[in-house]
Amino acid sequence: MNEQTPAQALRHQMGITEEDIGRRQRFVDLTSVDVERIAGIREPVVRNAEELARGFFDYLAKFEEARPLFASRTLLERARQLKREHLIALVGGDYGVAYVEQRLELGLLYSKVGLDPRVFLGAFHFLMRNVGAAVMKHGERRPLEAFESFLSLNKVGFIDIGLITDVLVAERERTIQQQQEAIRELSTPVLQIRERLLLLPIIGLVDTHRARLITENLLQAVRATRAKVIVMDVTGVATIDSKVANHLLQTVSAARLMGARVIVSGISADVAQSLVSLGIELARLNTVGDLQGGLEEAERLIGYQVALQPGPPRRSSRERPHPAAGAGPDRLHPGGAFRPGSHPGARPARRADRPRARDRRRARRYRARRAGFLRHAHAAYHRLHGSPARRARGRSRHPAGRGVRHGPARPDARRRRDRARPGGRHGPARAARNPGCRAWQVS
C-alpha cells in the first residue's frame, strides 16, 4: 500500500468525499453538457498552458503580498508545474478525486507561503480572463459557441476557487487552533511564593480541558513542593458560571485531599453577585478579597510573620567587602593597612574595609530616610530643633556660653577680642601669642 500524499491527507481531513465533490459540482451547476462544451475548447487551452501559467505567476509577482511565494525557488517551480497541470486538467473533463487532490496540493503550497486569499482571487481572475481570450480567439468564427464554452469552463473555475479558499481557511484555522493549544498550556502556571506556599493565578476562560490541566498541574506541584497552602487567584476570570465554579470546587477538594488548604482570592463584585444569584454555595471555600490579602492569609496560616523592618536590612561588611580592600597585599602599602596620620598610641587603626564612622552614620541615616523610616533626623534639623548641646554644635560655642570656641567668630574678632579687658593683661592677646590656646581661656 502506498503512502498517503499530503493532499490526500488534507482531503480526508477536510471531509471532501466523492459525494462532496458531486455537491460542489451541483452548486455551480456543472452538467455533462458543460463537460462536452469544455472538450471543444481543449486544444487552445492546452496549447497555451505554458504561456498562461507564466502569465499567472508574472501577475502574482507584481504584488508585495505574494512575495513569499517567490522567495523559494523549489516551491515556485513546483507551483508552476502544478499550475500547468491544472490548466491541462481544467479542460480534461474529469473533475473527480484526482482533480481535487491536484488542486488541494497547490492550495497547500499557497498556504505554506501565506498567500493572501485576495491576491490569489485577483490572479485567478486574471488567469481566467486570459483563458477566455484564448478561447474566444480560437472560436473567432463562432463567437457565441466559444462564449458558452468559456462559461462552462468558468464553472469549473469556481469549483477551483472554492477548493483553494477552503484550504487557505482550513490551514489558517489549524494554525489558530495550534496557537490556542499553546496558550492553554502556557496559561496554567503554578508558582511557588515561599516554602510550602503556592500561587495559582487563573486567567481567562476555564473550560473542561483547561480545568483538568489546572488541577493536574496544581496537584503535581503540591506533591513536588509539599505545599500546605495554595492561593488561587481568579482576578483574571471575567465570568464564572456554575460549571467553572464546579471545576474550581473540585480542584479545591482535590488539593485538600492532599493536605493543602486553598485560599481563593480576586472574586470581583460582578462575579460575586452572579454567583450568589446562581445560588452556588462557596461558603466552604476560604475566600479573600484580593491577591494581597490572600497571600497575607496564607502566610498567617503557615505561620510566617511578616514584619516591616525599621530600616532596610544591613549587610555586614563581611558579606560585602569594601572595594578598597582587595584580596592580597595593597600595592601602595604592602606592609598592611597604612593610614596617613596614624601613629602609635593613637586610636586603633580603622579597618581598611570599613568606611569612616562619620560616613557610616551618614549613610545609615540617609538610607533609613530613603526607605521611609526616619531614624535620625538630618543634621540641620538638630541644629534647629535639637537639645541645646546639639544646637550649640552648629555655633561652636562653649557650653559655658562665653566666647567663641574655635577661631574668630567675626572678621573683626581679633581686634575686639584681643583688646585688654578691665583687669586684664596689657600687651598682645594670649590667643595671638599662643595660637593653641582657646579664646574662652582669656579671662
Binding site: 476562560l205 471575567a238 464564572i240 460549571k243 462575579v271 446562581l278 445560588g279
Partner: protein
C-alpha cells in the same frame, strides 16, 4: 429594532463567543457592568446545558422594547432529548448530569423573565429576558 443575533453553539468556545456577544449587546443599551456579568453568566449557563445535553443548538440574542423600558432577550433552542420533568429540572441542586444542578434555576434567578418549553424528544427552548432599570 430587530437586530437579532443568532449564534450556533457546538463547543465551549462558542459559549464564550455567545456570552461575549450578550455582554456587548447588554452594554450597547446601557446595562451596568454588573448586569452585563449577570446576563453573560445566564447565557453561559443555558449554552452549557445545550452542549451538555443536546450537543448543539442555537442562541439568539436581541433587544426587546416595551413602552418605557428596553431589555435583552435570549432565546436558546436545541433539538436534543428534551426535559422529562420540568419541575424537577428547575429545582436547585437537581441534575441528571454530573453538574451542580444550578444551571436552570440559577439562570432564572439571574434574569427577570424566564420561560422554558420542553418535551421528551422535542428539544428544549429557553426564553429569558432582562429589563433595564426599575
Amino acid at each position: 429594532m430587530a437586530s437579532e443575533l443568532k449564534l450556533r453553539v457546538e463547543n465551549e468556545s462558542d459559549i464564550v463567543a455567545a456570552r461575549q456577544r450578550g455582554r456587548e449587546l447588554a452594554a450597547s443599551i446601557g446595562f451596568s457592568a454588573t448586569e452585563q456579568t449577570l446576563i453573560a453568566t445566564a447565557i453561559s449557563e443555558i449554552a452549557r446545558n445545550i452542549i451538555a445535553y443536546a450537543k448543539r443548538g442555537d442562541v439568539a440574542l436581541d433587544i426587546v422594547e416595551q413602552p418605557g423600558r428596553r431589555g435583552v432577550r435570549v432565546v436558546a433552542s436545541d433539538e436534543g432529548p428534551g426535559i422529562e420533568n420540568l419541575e424537577l429540572a428547575m429545582r436547585d441542586g437537581y441534575s441528571t448530569g454530573r453538574s451542580l444542578g444550578m444551571g436552570l434555576p440559577g439562570a432564572k434567578r439571574l434574569m427577570d423573565e424566564f420561560h422554558i418549553a420542553s418535551a421528551p424528544g422535542k428539544g428544549t427552548t429557553v426564553t429569558m429576558k432582562k429589563w433595564r432599570g426599575p
